[in-house]
């Protein structure tokens, strides 16, 4: 690896891992209440409910990459995003930021490091404080963290708003005075105001109308080149992910089932779940065509099927799939898939 860093200390080799997840899991446990604990002591068959929202995920995101994280509801994509963004600790595993485990850092260094990862949320209505003016929403964090000063504050906020496509003349307004698309721009301006280099977008365009969605996606792409950003782009919309991402990661019930460069995922999907997901997506090119059907429903994450989580819905399921959990293996250069079918051949 060549060390050609002439820029300031925060510059990193292009292509070096910016975010590395190793065996990351997240469990949510519902503790038994008092009555439940007594019942258990008396031998009643009650147990604590545990949801494995994210189950042993390895993921590497390189500098400058846009990684799309796709899955249906309950697959753990948002939980994973929250852990990557540092607003939720993992139950197991380590998350390395630029090769460093944040938990090993001192308080001050960790704070600095965390600031460089920011998150943009789905709901532009719920993620902005309705009692704060836009200028304060955008400017508060950089002021607190010393990125701007009291004297430079107004100019700094103006610049941040302009960059996100907002008119600084509106900075004394409150969030409710803006439309959905503009509110999402406020969320983007707020995230970028603390000069992050890594952004987690959690369904950031899902709540927007098509024409507004296109505007925001274009903004994301422009900012990526302008500010040299790296994105983890979480979405259930395969069209959006296909358009934006360099690499796609597909999750199903807490596990990564496939991971590959975007072209590969869409041209040669390996995992049966990926294949059925792609077949289910309505496409504007498909006219009056019968919709492809994946049988069955997404099982409850409280009680996932044993072996491969997808086996009850999989058209190729074999005996082995019901008992043995498939591991994520390389099936082609850059493409990893967790399916027993790949061993059969």
């Amino acid at each position: 690896m060549s060390a050609t860093t002439t820029a300031p200390a925060r510059a990193i080799d292009a292509g070096s891992p910016m975010m590395e997840l190793r065996g990351v899991s997240r469990r949510f446990e519902k503790k038994l209440d008092f009555a439940g604990r007594i019942a258990k002591r008396l031998g009643a068959p009650v147990r604590e409910e545990v949801v494995h929202a994210v189950d042993n995920v390895d993921l590497t995101i390189r500098k400058g990459e846009v990684v799309g994280l796709v899955g249906e509801s309950g697959c753990g994509k948002s939980t994973l995003g929250r852990m990557v963004a540092g607003i939720m600790p993992p139950s197991d595993g380590t998350i390395l930021r630029n090769g460093v485990d944040i938990r090993s850092l001192s308080h001050a260094a960790a704070k600095e490091m965390k600031l460089r990862t920011q998150m943009i949320f789905q709901d532009p209505y719920a993620s902005l404080n309705p009692r704060m003016r836009v200028a304060d929403i955008v400017g508060e964090a950089p002021l607190v963290h010393g990125i701007t000063t009291r004297t430079g504050y107004e100019a700094y906020v103006d610049e941040q708003m302009r960059r996100a496509g907002l008119d600084p003349a509106f900075k004394r307004r409150y969030p409710h005075q803006f439309s959905g698309g503009q509110r999402q721009r406020i969320g983007i301006a707020r995230a970028l105001a603390v000069k992050p280099d890594f952004i987690v977008c959690d369904e950031a365009v899902a709540a927007l109308d098509v024409s507004i969605q296109a505007q925001i996606l274009n903004l994301f792409m422009r900012l990526r080149t302008e500010l040299d950003l790296t994105y983890l782009f979480i979405s259930h919309d395969l069209g959006v992910v296909e358009h934006l991402s360099d690499r796609v990661v597909i999750m199903y019930l807490g596990r990564v089932v496939e991971e590959a460069p975007t072209e590969t995922v869409f041209s040669q999907p390996n995992h049966p779940y990926t294949q059925s997901l792609l077949a289910s997506v309505p496409r504007i090119e498909n006219r009056k065509r019968a919709f492809a059907v994946v049988k069955g429903e997404i099982p409850s994450p409280l009680n996932p099927p044993p072996g491969c989580h997808f086996h009850p819905r999989c058209p190729h399921a074999m005996e082995r799939c019901k008992v043995e959990k498939p591991v994520l293996k390389e099936v082609a250069p850059g493409q990893r898939s967790a399916c027993h079918l790949n061993d059969a051949a």
């Binding site: 934006l244 492809a292 049988k295």
Partner: protein
Amino acid sequence: MAAPTLEVRNLRTHFFTRAGIVKAVDDVSFTVERGKVLGLVGESGSGKSVTGFSIIGLVDPPGRVTGGQILFQGRDLAKISEEEMRDLRGNRIAMIFQDPMMTLNPVLRIDTQMIETVQAHKKVSREEARQRARDTLGMVGIPSPDERLMAYPHQFSGGMRQRVAIAIALLHEPDLIVADEPTTALDVTIQGQILAEVQKLAQTTGTSLIWITHDLSVVAGLADDVAVMYAGRIVEKGPVSEVLDAPLHPYTAGLIGSVPSRNKRGEPLRQIPGMTPSLLNLPPGCAFRSRCPRAAEACMAEPGISEILPGRETRCFFPMNTPAEQAA
């Protein structure tokens, strides 16, 4: 050809609010033939849902249907009494909502709700009604319908709940179903299942469908005809393939261009600048003028809707993809 199931002529539904009159639906006309699917497409606030609610007579004050005709099998729904409407609603015309809990009562078992719906319009025994409910649940792909009839709505998943809502709409084999974004809140694999069921139903039962959605990709696969709404008006309508392949109205073209799969990966999406105007103070002339790349002086006047090509109508002075333009 037989008379169309539904013919809407110059429908106007206005909301009389304290801030002023909101013309949510303004001069909307379309026809739905028997067994056909009409996709009603638009962004939020375009008036597509209010159009649906107007047809089924569920517009609440301060809203009111102020003009036009809604001819359902020749009868004008805008004129008939509430009693006659109740007789039709749930019987000959049914509605499916985005949120199935709009249809379902959370404290009643599914069987109670379905039997009640059957008996509301048909003099049949409870057992017969139950049989009908069970058959319909099976038809929409709900496994073990006998057991599921005994369940409460909260015991179903989102996709299953929507299936139950669809089953309730189908109980009386209606002639027309108005579906308001019924798959928007569902996951893609579940959406695919429901769309497949609906497609099958429309083909086998001869039920006409109005499918209200913001998603052009769903319309592309499901509908026969499409009507695109903007700021309370239909700006373009015609057969789905023709409209999507060669849109006449710049707004339709903009919408199609905004769909990520139509664009080259990594390149900027073709976006429509600006945003939807507030219906409270629409600018004079064409409502799309301020966002339109083809806008000119003439657009200060209001364009009427006219048939430019056979079966293709648009509300624009400078339509795109016309034979004249393609020749030029």
